[in-house]
Assembly symmetry: C2
Homo-oligomer: 433 residues x 2
């Protein structure tokens, strides 16, 4: 009905975003799966914006599409429809194992299956959960520089500098997405990438310490120390090999005990200062609110950023829905537990009778190959023998960290509109024969 | 019936403890209130042990008295009863304000009234909760020395040394007893000193830093750093005056963010090393267990010591049982919130409808007069305006700390046999007119 020219005219008037449809029927699946030469076109300032729309594919959500709906002005006539080279920015993303549970294809967000997660203390690189906001950048390791802004001056570090001018240290840390286990909050009342309990993994990261390495060059400033702990490193190896592209090749910041988002991948710039970064991800995302806060009342300026993570645990064995044949009335339960800020796991309690009685789990922790400080950055794996009755059984786990913090019993009191920090008791429902 | 000689004979045979009664009737109140010349006598190795019994008065509990009961061998004949000089070791304890709620008189354990607790950010010395295991020692400040054992050598520090050889720093910290709010666990199923929610207070402590002061003298040992944070001080002033005797005169260790018990009063010795102290209070007390652990199954060797404290909050206004005349349907609720390990309080939620809706409290924190590092050692006071319906109302508060840890909803899942770490949501029941 409308020609491209007409759309352009509309658009230049109020600077909006315009969506046109071939058939006038709004079809989200088709829209999200837009491909080169596809039928759906978005125009802004008179030209197609599909390339940008695909780049920032994180916006392909029901909410954003609903907002866009009001800007629809009509359908292009068949004559106006020409194939567009969309130049899919995700076409050069790395290969991933098909075993992943994919929560979003572009950008790629996926977690390993729960039955594999705790099979080894160190998570294999190929099974480490992937959380990308954008396409994976292609970086030339030889020309790549990390700029360290020290206020008055700056340092440019090459990958070679990092590997040769600083003593390599290996830190074993668990990295967890702020949205790990969000699915449980979504079941309650949130939207967002519905992560299961596997947006977490543990790896040995090798790199240069930021404190004795880079920061000895700057004036000692007591206030910065807590932010740049001695175990914060610029890593170039993950479990002994070059960091895979999905996980930050060629260099990544490892900030142990902090939310995954702060373990910046594809590191390019470090700024030393006392002010909080004004980046979108620091200021306007990764913040939690009270259960009564809505998108309308959320005050992102006032709310503090998510940095250190709370104590969490989850059951990896048995899987939800399993049918169990117990041995002498006992079932073996396995899982992981972790706390942020370098806090150790002191105890994991497991119950199969609604929390009336608790069995203390046996704990496996520490990586003897790591150069860590006395902090406990990596997770604890655990196993418990739990008595079970026949029938439908809910298995529950909860952990206590070395600051004696515990997990909340259910989602309700910690629910937040962005679905972050789901650390309620983990519950797995099974049938016991 | 038995003479002292006969008792002595029994005693020497199996090295037991013997209790004799004047009237053969077991009366705990009389027993606990034993005073010089009193009627109850305990003998061991042929002599009265009342002086020691009174010294270690922490044993005057139902449980210990029940154990002693089995050793009762009879009553002394009136002729054998002679007044005994008990030399009450508590007779030289300092004067305390009568306003305290006393949980134990000897040793003195008391907390200020809740309605005064949060009236000021800094707790007045005279209202700071007192937790003593023994009589308050009488220490001559001029001859007192602090011995610092460095392994190969040791340093003796006088009070004068501490005040003149080290730069004085002032740290504002909240100190909290591991048993704060134990009464709520006791109502569930624990015995012990039934602390209300006021075994907590905040003071400015002035003293010498242990890290840049004492420890620069020793070989740098990375493992020790987390234990001797830069804000750990040997304090000699509390809120600008000499530390009161009840709080550690003349010197006390201030270990911010750790359980009150580690803020050692009447400090005499510091040992630098990598092994945990083998003291009774470190090894066999101040440990928490799972709700299913009993005195019989508790393994004190395996359980870790309580060090850093979890996030907590409590309501100080209104008082439980208050009758409230709301203004425009709103009531003002006040209280405190705190977390150990230097973690800040990010948010306090208050509800008067069973947690269906939460009001975010306004927070007051930080002491501009302190020399603290970036850590947040002192509590947050808070105020919230909460809508209330007429009738019986339960007001609830819960806090989130900067590691995103939250408080558990009720006592059950955190209950432990010693009644430590009561940090469930605080609930105050009132009547709204």
């Amino acid at each position: 009905i409308f020609s491209s020219e007409e759309i352009s005219k509309h658009n230049s008037k109020d600077n909006g975003i315009w969506v046109s449809y071939k058939d006038g029927v709004y079809d989200i699946t088709d829209f999200v799966d837009l491909h080169p030469g596809g039928e759906k076109i978005m125009l802004a300032s008179g030209g197609p914006i599909d390339a940008f729309w695909n780049m920032y594919a994180v916006h392909k959500t029901d909410e954003v599409l609903e907002i866009l709906e009001q800007y629809k002005i009509g359908s292009l006539s068949p004559e106006d429809q020409k194939p567009i080279d969309l130049n899919d920015p995700f076409s050069k993303d790395p290969f991933r194992l098909p075993v992943f549970r994919i929560n979003s294809k572009k950008p790629f967000n996926a977690e390993p299956p729960i039955e594999l997660l705790t099979d080894s203390y160190i998570t294999p690189n190929e099974l480490f959960y992937v959380r990308n906001h954008l396409p994976v950048p292609e970086i030339d390791p030889d020309s790549h520089r990390i700029s360290v802004d020290l206020g008055d001056s700056s340092i440019q570090l090459s990958l070679e500098d990092l590997k040769t001018k600083f003593k390599p240290v290996t830190i074993t840390t668990t990295i967890q997405c702020a949205g790990n286990r969000r699915q449980e909050m979504s079941d309650f009342k949130t939207k967002g990438l519905s992560w299961g309990p596997c947006a977490i993994g543990t790896a040995r990261w090798t790199g240069a310490r930021m404190l004795p390495g880079v920061l000895l060059h700057v004036t000692y400033n007591h206030d910065i120390i807590p932010l740049l702990d001695g175990d914060v490193i610029i890593a170039y190896k993950m479990n002994g090999v070059d960091i895979p592209r999905d996980h930050g090749y060629p260099v990544r910041a490892i900030v142990p005990g902090y939310v995954g988002a702060r373990n910046v991948k594809w590191l390019r710039q470090i700024t030393v200062g006392s002010d909080e970064s004004t980046s979108h991800w620091q200021m306007n995302d990764y913040k939690a609110f009270s259960p009564s806060t809505t998108f309308e009342t959320a005050n992102y300026k006032k709310a503090p950023s998510i940095q250190e993570m709370p104590v969490i645990s989850a059951i990896s064995v048995p899987k939800p829905g399993s049918i169990i044949d117990p041995e002498d009335g006992m079932v073996e339960v396995k899982g992981y537990a972790w706390s942020g800020g370098g806090r150790d796991i002191m105890r994991v309690d497991v119950s199969a009778d609604g929390g009336n009685t608790w069995q203390e789990a046996s704990l496996t922790k520490d990586d003897p190959d790591a150069d860590d400080s006395a902090h406990c950055w990596a997770w604890t794996l655990w196993t418990a023998e739990v008595p079970v009755a026949a029938g439908k059984v809910e298995i529950i786990c909860k952990a206590i960290d070395s600051a004696n913090n515990c997990q909340p019993e259910w989602i309700g009191p910690i629910w937040n509109l962005r679905g972050f920090l789901t650390n309620a008791w983990h519950r797995v429902n099974v049938t016991v024969e």
